[in-house]
Symmetry: C2
Subunit: 226 residues, 2 copies
């Protein structure tokens, strides 16, 4: 156990990042999980992240507060309403949604990079996905490639020729494929949170984009009845 090389995973409490954690663990890494407490509307994510960190027996779980509500500009961090559809089968629109949080993945990746560098980790995983969330600019492969280049130039390890590898194993996966990976990895998927706007008791709204993408995937795998 002690000899496993460290890898940082951005663990949100959602399904995708849990799959990335399992993916890194399967490759022999010892996990350092980083969860950003950014004032998100869906606070139950943080509880889910804690449970998942326990499930994975991570070697460190850093829950880093960074309150993005003071910046705002997103339905997830301000009083802008999270859009809802009438039916869980309704398609998710391809444009940039109001749930876009300005520069969120750039901020999270930057902090994760610092965490990796400080812990001597040469590997970092993030559950970005370009298919289902094509509307978010900071989920696209071209953004990730630009970030990799930027990261190599921003860090001591990058300058010294040992850049941190940024893994995005879900980049081109569909939600169905991701859910299947989660089941194959034995992840307790019921403990992951997808909803952008859960009720006070943590139950999902079943109408936001994230709920619908997840519902549709669960239906396709026969986990939900029609």
């Amino acid at each position: 156990m002690a000899n496993r090389p460290p890898a940082v995973v951005l663990l949100s409490g959602g399904l995708d990042s849990a799959v990335v954690a399992a993916w890194l663990q399967q490759r022999g890494f010892g996990l350092r999980a980083l969860t950003l407490d950014y004032g998100q509307r869906h606070r139950v994510e943080l509880e889910a992240a804690r449970r998942l960190a326990e499930h994975f027996r991570v070697e460190e779980h850093l829950i880093q507060p960074l309150d993005l509500r003071a910046i705002g500009g997103s339905a997830l961090t301000s009083s802008i309403e999270v859009p809802k559809a009438d039916h869980p089968e309704a398609e998710v629109a391809p444009d940039i949604p109001v749930t876009y949080v300005p520069a969120r993945n750039l901020i999270f990746l930057s902090i994760a990079l610092a965490f990796a560098e400080a812990r001597g980790a040469q590997d970092l995983g993030i559950g970005v996905n370009a298919l289902d969330y094509s509307g978010y600019p900071d989920c696209r492969p071209e953004f990730l490639d630009a970030f990799r280049h930027c990261a190599d130039l921003a860090t001591r390890v990058g300058v010294e020729g040992k850049p941190i590898q940024i893994h995005t194993p879900l980049q081109q996966k569909s939600k169905v494929e991701i859910l299947q990976m989660a089941l194959d990895f034995g992840i307790p998927v019921d403990q992951t949170v997808s909803c952008y706007d859960p009720a006070a008791d943590g139950s999902p709204c079943r109408a936001c984009d994230a709920c619908r993408l997840r519902y549709q995937a669960e239906r396709q795998l026969g986990l939900k009845e029609a």
Copy 2:
């Protein structure tokens, strides 16, 4: 006043960022100042940032907490000692110093970018400097250029063809030139803080890299006696 286009400035409380604020103001921008309270050893920086924000009559001053001590890896955020020289005239070494904070400028720029996007600002200024601080990887022009590219891809405004301009007017200036600019702009330089490791009463150590660079510049301009 009301018609001035907004610009975000990363205002640390130090000399360089104060000069950038004045530079942006002179170009007609209404300032939105962003100060990161990152758990830095030199807490008096924050007080200096508050005073400078007042001096510039900024339209908004956001002091954003992001405690990087949990990440550590730097003399500025952990118990690693800040290196001191015996004499204020001692030269500053060109390699990456232990005061390097992992990915700090990348993190700060990312948050500033989010702030700019949320406020509808198309301009953002940072006081990075490649001459005196050549040891910091994230002060180099190639890092800044990579960040600009990354920022264009990470943001809604970038995708929509109105990318945020990132200004680095001090990139190629010497400390003497920066100090001269500060004097020309009428900045109260005595209220800016450069020291990495000030005493409890806020007085500078006069021995760290930042103190020495500043001392040497003040000497050259005849502000300090030999």
